[in-house]
Amino acid sequence: MSGKIPIAKTYKLFINGAFPRSESGRTFSVDNPEGELIANVSQASRKDFREAVRAARSAQSPWASRTAYNRGQILYRVAEMLESRKIEFVELLKNIGLNSKAAKSEVEEAIHRWVWYAGWSDKYSQVLGSVNPVSGPYFNFTVPEPTGVVGIIAPAEPSMMGLVSRLAPAIVSGNTVVVVSQGQSSLTSITIGEVLATSDVPEGVVNILTGDQSELLPWMIGHMDVNAVDISGISPETDHTLLEEASLNVKRVVSRKVEEESLELISDFLEMKTIWHPVGR
């Protein structure tokens, strides 16, 4: 009889809507707290990172051009898809060491976070934008626009809430992202990628690389086509002088509490555009 031997999932990278292995052919192992192998995970190289940035760049303008309503619907769809795979995520979190209650509550919170940001999609412009009373015959208004391509260092923990808390506020406004995730959180990250792949999120909007943060971080910080980086999830032992290279293209560098939920997180990856036009006949 078949069916007795469980089929283990191969954890691959998530680039441009597909799940390729690393071009380097490398993997790293993720164990459970008992030291048993859970999975061999693809270890992304700088070339994988480059491909992910390309995908994010070409997806950015179309994603930003979607209506806010449509982006909100897609983020809500992510919540729906997560809800339907709740059990899988709970099991995954338990597998990497959370107790059942903690695992359940983290998944619930993560689902709600998508719902919260989904609702912001067609509101943050109203809250953050403005009509400015300039002293002259001009109509002057300020609207927020997405910064562009954002690099995100996924926090090691909480592995699900950490990533969701960084990801949702970045993409809701039309940014596209390249996530670098390492260690145990890689499993949650890639599984979230699987959810995104089936949630109408267009290919390239979110790209998730698993691997060694210290190997990929310099490439992220120095990449001239990455407009902003979220380093909230950076390892405490990281040498901060690495960040100097962010100045090569004047990257926005953002660091927040990993689980923060706020409108300011959306505005971290927005540029304010002010438009002047004369008022006349």
Binding site: N249, E264, K273, I275
Partner: protein, 496 residues
């Protein structure tokens, strides 16, 4: 008379308007022989005893001797700002902080002509601009932010509002007093104390502002003004007790500052260079577009980070437009900045003049055609005529690098898509201009241009209520408006 150019030869036609040399009087301005550093409410000497001269760039004559702040002096200033923050400013109500800002605004209005003349003397900009733009706007910035000081919770509802503490601010030479106002007013309104460094070629109006600060009885140490060049600036940037940095200046220096700040997670705002596209569609109000282009590139000798330095004209009207533009440029009056009829003043410094000259020569070598009007330039001082480079390709240095002078680079396009592609093809993203009478095209372009300020059917307009700042390598953070306040409060957005 009539439909011909014939004249009856009555000797009437030889009349031409000669404008007066309407020189603004300098008698209002009392420049001292030398200036100390303004620290803790007093003018003090430097620990190092070093000083430097500041010149009138239109004559190359020395105006005064200014103290060069050493790292120890900067430290003294930071300590004064710290003590003042703890002792007075942190404890003061927003309403009272606002009252000080209102007072500063009023004093600037009262002494506007004096400030304007001094600005023109020290920086070389036409008096018409310092009088009609720099001064009114500087006063307006203080006035605008004064009102915010006790209303911050309306700007950021549901946030815990806390100032950073001591703010280090470094400003450029193109709008010396106005940039000081842009920096000081929001910082103070939000409850920070400040160490400000004006540019080394234009320190005098900031030092006159120090007098105003004393006259309005601002508590000592709330604003400290340290003069000097790069070394003084790095002493502020590197000082471990500075809690936030704000810089306006070149992208090159901005990057160095970011290098230093980012590894310390130090809040930072940068307002850097630009290479703004100025896009003219064939259906534009062409006579006004010409004025917009002129104002866009020749305002303040082109020493403007948001200058419309790349003209993109639709090919169908290009020859016609450039022809009209050249005729208009012939009418520009270059000369004595104190003359009220002067349109273009002196280049700010010898170094800047050399840079402009070098870049234009590079453009000509790369194949650009150069147009300069037939105006004569004064013998002494630093001057560069209004210049137009045509036949420029996207790959040319003059199309990519910021010239920061009265030099316009002209390219053409055929379709809105092509205009947009060329406009956005730059590492900069500070401003952009659009001229068309078609409303939907304005919005289509405005939505897609990657720049922080879009001027549609106008250019180079500024207002304290209007947020200003760049995308990409033009910097981050906004100055002005509600959005500008965020940079001076913790956790209200912004990068490092």
């Amino acid at each position: 008379m009539g439909n011909s150019n014939s004249k009856d030869g009555s000797a009437l036609e030889d009349f031409g308007i000669e404008y007066a040399s309407a020189i603004e009087s300098t008698s209002l301005v009392n420049i001292k022989d030398n200036y100390g550093l303004f620290i803790d409410g007093d003018f003090v000497a430097s620990s190092s005893g070093k000083s430097f001269e500041t010149l009138d760039p239109s004559t190359e004559k020395s105006l005064s001797v200014v103290t060069e702040a050493s790292p120890e002096d900067v430290d003294r200033a930071v300590q004064a700002a710290r003590v003042s923050y703890e002792k007075y400013w942190k404890k003061m109500s927003g309403a009272d902080r606002g009252r000080y800002l209102f007072r500063i605004a009023r004093h600037l209005q009262e002494r506007a002509r004096e400030f304007a003349v001094l600005e023109t003397l020290d920086g070389g900009k036409p008096i018409k601009e310092s009088r009609d733009v720099d001064l009114p706007l500087a006063a307006a910035h203080f006035f605008y932010h004064a009102g915010w000081a006790d209303k911050l919770e309306y700007a950021f509802p549901q946030r815990e509002l806390e100032p950073h503490g001591v703010v280090g601010q470094i400003i450029p030479w193109n709008f010396p007093l106005l940039m000081a106002a842009w920096k000081l007013a929001p910082a103070l309104a939000c409850g920070n104390t400040v160490v400000l460094k004006p540019a080394e070629t234009t320190p005098l109006t900031a030092l006159l502002l120090a007098e105003v600060i004393r006259d309005v009885d601002l508590p000592p140490g709330v604003i400290n003004i340290v003069t000097g060049a790069g070394e003084t600036g790095s002493a502020i940037v590197e000082h471990p007790e500075v809690n936030k940095l704000a810089f306006t200046g070149s992208t090159e220096v901005g990057k160095l500052i970011q290098r230093s700040a980012v590894k310390r997670n130090l809040p930072l705002t940068l307002e850097l260079g630009g290479k703004a596209p100025h896009v003219i569609f064939e259906d534009a109000a062409l006579d006004q577009a010409i004025e917009g282009v002129i104002n866009g590139i020749f305002f303040n000798q082109g020493h403007v980070c948001c200058a419309g330095s790349r003209l993109l004209v639709q090919e169908s009207i290009a020859d016609n437009f450039i022809d009209r533009l050249q005729k208009r440029i012939e009418l520009l009056r270059v000369g004595n900045p104190l003359d009220k009829n002067t349109d273009i003043g002196a280049i700010n410094s010898k170094a800047q003049l050399e840079r402009i000259d070098q870049l234009v020569k590079a453009g000509i070598e790369e194949g650009a055609e150069v147009f300069k009007p037939s105006c004569s330039l004064p013998d002494n001082g630093y001057w560069y005529p209004p210049t137009v480079l045509t036949g420029v390709q996207q790959s040319h240095r003059v199309a990519r690098e910021e010239i920061f002078g009265p030099v316009l680079v002209v390219q053409t396009f055929r379709t809105p898509e092509e205009a947009l592609e060329k406009a956005n093809n730059t590492p900069y993203g500070l401003s952009a201009g659009i001229w068309t009478e078609k409303g939907s095209l304005i919005h289509w372009m405005a939505e897609r241009l990657r720049a922080g300020v879009i001027w549609a059917n106008t250019f180079n307009k500024f207002d304290p209520a209007s947020p200003f700042g760049g995308y990409k390598e033009s910097g981050f953070g906004r100055e002005g408006g509600m959005h500008g306040l965020g940079a001076y409060l913790k956790n209200t957005g912004g990068s490092s």
